[in-house]
């Protein structure tokens, strides 16, 4: 629409003011973003080729930090753990959010009340959620003995086999509400006439879901999944407080691995290399997911992310 309504070139000559805001309006935001996001982004690439312990002088190291980061078996493990959490989180969160989103999109009053309560986990900080679940999962003073169910009184956070599922559950607990909200909005935008037509044709609820709701939600699903995938590259505080990456390396995700390498092992060079890997994975996944949405709407798709 901008091309259609663009002022004629004659007006442009007379003065920028007549045809829209001048560029200075974007300058303050651009300046903040350049200094505290773009510059650090370039900085992380630069620092990945250096040696720095966080305090002393920065010295050129060539590819040494990359070698350290890439040959470390913990890095490979962190990549696998990150990938696992990403995939499992998607598998768990997409169906639940979709189900709850469709459900709360109904106009019954109690469903609106449910949607209000679903939002509560979004108000808690990840640190608070982690602390609450740590107490709740305690085998002696948590929900296991509370509900009188011995099966819930496990050493949830101390067992390498169980801890991954705990983390996936807690992540879902915290973020499903947000995605439910997105799906709820998406479902409400589907024209009711689609369902009427389907009903006249004799389609049942399940058929309606698979032939109307799901296809109509295509872009919502892509938006929400993109946010989930990119989010799983950013789970830091929750896991840092809940498990600190343990037991062993069982929940040491890439961002956590980067933090511990940089700020605990004082190897900022290797940590920067991990940061670069994180950026590349994030950008790559975002592009792939946008592609899935089709090229025709690529511009507005990216906006949807």
């Amino acid at each position: 629409m901008s091309t259609l309504l663009k002022p004629k070139p004659v007006m442009r000559v007379r003065g920028a003011r007549a045809e829209g805001p001048s560029a200075w309006m974007v300058v303050p935001a651009l300046a903040f973003f350049l200094v505290f996001a773009v510059l650090p982004l370039l900085g992380v690439v630069f620092l990945s080729f250096t040696n720095w312990n966080g305090l002393g002088a920065i010295t050129w190291a060539g590819l040494e930090s990359w070698r350290t980061a890439l040959t470390d078996s913990v890095t490979l493990n962190a990549l696998i753990v990150t990938l696992k959490i990403m995939v499992y989180s998607l598998l768990v969160q997409v169906p639940i959010s979709l189900l709850l989103g469709v459900f709360t999109a109904g106009n019954q009053r109690y469903r609106a009340v449910l949607a209000v309560l679903y939002f509560v986990p979004l108000l808690l900080s990840s640190a608070a959620v982690a602390i609450a679940f740590k107490a709740l999962l305690d085998p002696n003073f948590g929900m296991g003995p509370g509900l009188g169910l011995p099966i819930l009184a496990q050493n949830w956070l101390g067992s390498a086999d169980l801890v991954l599922f705990v983390v996936i559950f807690v992540i879902a607990w915290q973020f499903v509400p947000f995605h439910t909200l997105i799906y709820q909005g998406g479902v409400r935008q589907i024209p009711a006439s689609f369902y009427e037509a389907a009903q006249i044709d004799g389609a049942g609820r399940i058929q309606q879901f698979f032939h109307i709701t799901l296809p109509q939600l295509k872009y919502t699903i892509i938006t929400s999944s993109t946010l989930m995938v990119l989010g799983s590259l950013a789970y830091f505080d929750l896991i840092f407080v809940l498990t600190a990456g343990g037991p062993g390396y069982a929940t040491r995700l890439l961002p956590l691995h980067m933090y511990l390498t940089g700020f605990r092992a004082n190897d900022m060079g290797a940590a920067s290399a991990l940061g670069v890997i994180l950026v590349v994975i994030g950008l790559g996944l975002a592009l792939v997911l946008q592609r899935l949405g089709g090229n025709s709407r690529s511009a507005s798709q990216l906006e949807g992310a």
């Binding site: 003011r17 829209g20 805001p21 001048s22 560029a23 309006m25 974007v26 303050p28 903040f32 973003f33 773009v38 510059l39 650090p40 370039l42 620092l47 639940i96 189900l99 709850l100 109904g106 106009n107 949607a115 309560l117 939002f119 986990p121 108000l123 808690l124 900080s125 990840s126 640190a127 608070a128 609450a132 679940f133 107490a135 709740l136 003073f141 929900m143 003995p145 509370g146 607990w173 909200l181 709820q184 909005g185 935008q189 369902y195 009427e196 049942g204 938006t223 950013a234 830091f236 505080d237 407080v241 933090y259 700020f263 920067s272 940061g275 994180l278 950026v279 994030g282 950008l283 906006e303």
Partner: protein
């Protein structure tokens, strides 16, 4: 979507849609959804309930009673313990950092969104592209250079160190959502104001801002939630207790109170209370703004 001129018509349509949906819904109930809905509610409520009742128990009650039973003699002693452990200072720090980040972030983002929607030219277009890319990049990956810059600028261990990057990180999503809403303002309104001789600056504050105020409120609350609950920047950019913000203080309380779980959970409740109040006051706007903002 959120336009004054279209509200009446939109409301009618919505009402019509709703009654139709109801008819459809009545034909066969969504059993799976209903079941899932109530189960999920239980999953949400249980931890919240546990945190609240435990924060009201004394130590003996915590170790002696059923963890999910309400306290036999509720006490506020844990809250006193938390308040005496410098909680007020952490609270004030959080307020300073949140307001100090959100207010400038919303102002600069609104101006940028206005320029993106109304303006043209290379600077504006490339800024827009940059912000969109910012959405796809895990900005946490940049903490090491940010730490470097902050120490070089002698800002380490100050509240300003938390504010500056928080503003930058809030810009992409804010510009995105605000520009989505600004796009719905009819061009004719700007055109008539322009013919009256108004400058772009006047149009921005007098016309655009009032029309997209719901979106501005939404994005302000959304950013406030993020900054208030932020953990990573405080962890790497501050160190002394008098610069601590709430999420970091929760983490520190864990060590400080060690086995006094009820006191730690009381701190959890106290740190969340302001957001609960905010949610109660502005829920409608936040939720409708977010659903609309992400579904455009």
């Amino acid at each position: 979507m959120a336009l004054a001129t279209e509200t009446a018509q939109g409301a009618d349509e919505q009402a019509g849609e709703r009654s139709q949906r109801k008819r459809v819904g009545r034909s066969s109930p969504n059993v799976l959804g209903g079941l899932g809905g109530w189960v999920w509610l239980a999953l949400i409520i249980l931890p919240v309930y546990y945190v609240i009742i435990t924060s009201l128990k004394n130590q003996a009650g915590f170790f002696g009673s059923n963890p999910l039973a309400p306290p036999t003699d509720p006490t506020l002693a844990n809250y006193r313990t938390v308040l005496e452990a410098d909680f007020v200072r952490y609270f004030v720090n959080s307020v300073i950092v949140t307001l100090g980040s959100v207010i400038p972030a919303v102002i600069v983002s609104f101006m940028a969104a206005y320029a993106v929607v109304r303006g043209s030219g290379r600077i504006i277009t490339s800024a827009h592209t940059l912000f969109l890319m910012g959405l796809a990049i895990p900005l946490q990956a940049t903490i090491i250079p940010i730490y470097f810059m902050i120490t070089k600028a002698h800002l380490y261990d100050t509240l300003l160190a938390l504010i500056l990057p928080s503003i930058a990180f809030a810009i992409p999503i804010s510009v995105l959502i605000l520009s989505n809403f600004l796009r719905d303002v009819p061009r004719e309104l700007f055109e008539s104001m322009r013919l009256d001789g108004c400058s772009e600056f006047t149009m921005m504050w007098r016309l655009a801002l009032p029309l997209v105020r719901p979106a501005v409120v939404t994005i302000a609350i959304y950013n406030a939630l993020h900054v208030w609950n932020g953990f990573l920047f405080p962890l790497i950019l501050t160190q002394s207790p008098d610069k601590r913000v709430l999420p970091l203080s929760l983490w520190a309380f864990q060590d400080e109170f060690s086995v006094n779980i009820p006191a730690v959970l009381a701190a959890v409740v106290l740190s969340t209370l302001p957001l609960v109040v905010l949610y109660v006051l502005a829920r409608r706007q936040l939720v409708s703004g977010l659903t609309a903002g992400f579904n455009k």
